[in-house]
């Protein structure tokens, strides 16, 4: 999500050099028999290995649905943990077919890194968390607060932008490691801690008593997280995009992992098209006719993916926030599948 200016400049320079002609990614993936997906190494909720080293998480499930779309099998994916400094290069060089790594879609990244982004899969934003005992209900009430963060220019920049517009002062306390950052906040070194809201939720989850802490309502930056693919391979980007939109559309239409077989008999023409009952939509992208059915059958719909990995039933306990369907007041809006 965050980056240093230096890395971006470096990768941008390299991105310009990258040659982007070449074999179509879909053919490469099919020839290899596996999708290679770049994820983060250990971000609970998004991508983290379980006890057996199997990748779990929201980003990992996005990868699985793409693998299902291509192969009909969610296990035909190799996860490559990518480092925050080398993640874009991994896409440019073809080391990974798709990068699903909590990466914020921004103008510069799209324009200069030799990347194309898919649809936003998760609407995140930088927030602030404080102890309840501080008695603060809004970030606007913070005066001269010490704020713990991880390094990364955008985090600090967003904070200084925010507080400058308020005319308030704050003190930035930067820690190299997430563990130190967390410990410093819980230890009272800072009045507030700032990071992406999803991250704050996971920090809150490990507190001795999570109810002692509250996330302030302000979101001080926009962080739309989206998967990225190599530039100039629109056929492949289409597959990535529509795999994501299939997850969203399935939730909108009320298709779940459990009821997808019943829905095969649905009268709704859009559901019929999505599940490949009528029309031959899959082959237009070089996919199986039943690609939509396969995705929902093996991964579930967007809501199920969310709840399974970071929802109320998990330790992260995140609410959907803006990540709800458009007709429920959220931002998820899959284009029609027709």
């Amino acid at each position: 999500m965050k980056k240093s200016v230096l890395t971006v400049a470096g990768v941008a320079a390299l991105g310009a050099m990258a040659v982007s002609a070449g074999a179509a990614t879909l053919d490469t993936v099919k020839g290899r028999g596996k999708l290679i997906c770049g994820v983060s190494l250990a971000t609970p909720g998004f991508a983290a290995p379980d006890d057996k080293g199997r990748m779990t998480g929201f980003d990992a499930d996005i990868c699985r649905s793409i693998a299902v779309a291509v192969f009909g099998d969610g296990d035909k994916v190799d996860f490559v943990p990518t480092n925050i400094n080398t993640r874009f290069q991994a896409v440019q060089s073809g080391e990974v077919d798709v990068l699903s790594r909590q990466t914020t879609l921004t103008y510069t990244r799209e324009a200069s890194l030799g990347l194309d982004f898919g649809p936003t899969v998760f609407y995140d934003g930088q927030g602030l968390m404080v102890a309840k005992s501080l008695g603060v209900a809004s970030a606007k009430e913070l005066q001269d607060a010490a704020i713990c963060t991880l390094p990364g220019t955008t985090t600090a920049q967003n904070l200084s932008d925010f507080f400058r517009t308020l005319g308030a002062k704050f003190e930035l306390v930067v820690f190299e490691s997430p563990d130190e950052n967390r410990a410093a906040f819980f230890g009272g070194r800072c009045q507030a801690i700032s990071s992406d809201r999803s991250d704050l939720a996971s920090i809150r989850a490990v507190a001795n008593n999570p109810d002692d802490y509250i996330l302030l309502p302000e979101t001080i930056s926009k962080e739309p997280l989206a998967p990225a693919v190599r530039q100039n391979d629109s056929a492949w980007r289409d597959i990535v995009s529509w795999s994501v939109w299939m997850l969203m559309a399935a939730e909108e239409k009320g298709i779940t992992q459990a009821n997808v077989d019943e829905k095969l008999k649905s009268e709704d023409p859009e559901i019929q098209r999505m599940l490949g009952v009528t029309d031959e939509l899959g082959p237009m992208l070089g996919l199986d006719k039943k690609w939509g059915y396969n995705i929902i059958k093996s991964v579930g719909n967007y809501g199920e993916v969310f709840e399974r990995n970071m929802g109320q039933g998990t330790r992260l306990g995140m609410t959907r926030g803006p990540n709800t369907q458009w007709n429920a007041g959220g931002l998820l809006y899959a284009p029609p599948i027709r």
């Binding site: 390299l14 250990a42 057996k52 001795n208």
Partner: protein, 360 residues
């Protein structure tokens, strides 16, 4: 033990129980001794309390959250992941076998009496291919496991030990080249050594992983692990070259002149006279370099390779255990790194003694 006693310098006859006198000889010494003993006892009490008495040995994260001591179930649950990383769970006997095979072979190879051309050949022709087949598979009915899934301890060992083993001959060649009478070779060697030593390992790793692929023709990708391995070999070679050069300079000129007088040619003099003496002299700095490198390989995490320390760190971030077990994971990592570093140190001391007593 015989060698040990021999190495004790002869001095005036020792008085009985001098350590008592050393510890309690003067009031000042007695005070310091008492203080140290107290401090040690306090430390031991805290450590034992945390490691054993208050520790939780079986159970779930919830049990650990209640307990105040160490949380050992964390190690139990995460042990295989920490050691083998993303290697497919059902196939993890393969890296395990490879690890045992490697350690066993390394142990055998540590005995100087067994050193021979045959042993070297066995490593090159039998062991390394066998280790590779075990890890990579794809033949003999073993399923193929791409190197992107290798991780943990086997990866750390591979990067450091294969890296150092390959860097050693390269480093010696560079050291000789640097002293060569042929200007072209000398300048090349000096520039290589100075350039590589002049940049941090991280920048070399970045160069290998970020820059190199972009210069490759489309579709040609060299394995990332191999790229990192080559970077480590080159980096280590430059340092080894300088250490070996120090050894070469310590060999008296007369040795070479004697060789010349006997009519031996350059390579024979180097192989039979100079290098054996030079290498013996540089065992201590070489081993500290090896130990340093074993630990420096943790830097590959920066290019997204999952070495042992990184698997430990990522295991710690499991939300189920987060904030519950932190020290346990790092202690385990420290224990593993310390064990192997200490073994290397002990072996170095053994080699020094071995050479002192059999030659010179």
């Amino acid at each position: 033990m015989a060698e040990l006693q021999l190495s004790v310098p002869l001095g005036p006859p020792r008085r009985a129980r001098p350590w008592i006198k050393n510890l309690f000889g003067t009031p000042g010494n007695a005070l310091i001794t008492m203080f140290c003993v107290l401090a040690l006892a306090l430390l031991a009490k805290i450590a034992i309390g945390w490691l054993l008495i208050d520790a939780v040995f079986t159970g779930t994260p919830a049990d650990c959250k209640v307990g105040s001591g160490a949380c050992w179930p964390f190690l139990g649950a995460k042990l295989r992941y920490m050691i083998f990383g993303f290697y497919p769970y059902e196939e993890q006997w393969r890296p395990f076998a490879a690890l045992l095979l490697f350690l066993g072979a390394a142990l055998v190879s540590m005995v100087p009496r067994l050193w021979s051309r045959g042993l070297l050949l066995a490593w090159l022709v039998v062991l390394i291919p066998a280790l590779y087949i075990l890890m990579a598979g794809g033949v003999l009915g073993l399923s193929a496991v791409p190197s992107s899934k290798w991780g943990g301890l086997p990866l750390s060992f591979m990067l450091s030990f294969i890296g150092l083993a390959a860097a050693m001959p390269l480093g010696i060649a560079l050291a000789l080249a640097r002293q060569s009478d042929l200007p072209a070779i000398r300048v090349l060697a000096i520039s290589f050594i100075e350039i590589v030593r002049g940049v941090p390992l991280i920048s070399l790793l970045f160069l290998a992983t970020v820059m190199l692929p972009l210069f490759m023709p489309e579709g040609v990708t060299i394995d990332k692990l191999l790229r990192a391995q080559v970077a480590i070999i080159l980096f280590a070679a430059a340092y080894i070259a300088e250490i070996v050069r120090g050894g070469l300079q310590a060999v008296p000129k007369g040795q070479i002149e004697a060789g010349n007088a006997l009519g031996l040619h350059y390579w024979l003099i180097m192989r039979k006279i100079v290098l054996p003496q030079a290498l013996k002299k540089v065992i201590p700095p070489l081993v500290s370099l090896f130990i340093g490198f074993f630990q420096d390989t943790t830097l590959v995490t920066i290019i997204g390779l999952l070495d042992f320390l990184d698997t430990v760190r990522s295991a710690l971030r499991d939300p189920d255990w987060q904030g519950i077990a932190v020290l346990e994971g790092y202690l385990f990592a420290a224990f593993v790194y310390f064990t192997f570093s200490a073994l290397m140190g002990a072996y170095s001391r053994f080699l020094e003694r071995y050479y002192r007593t059999t030659h010179d």
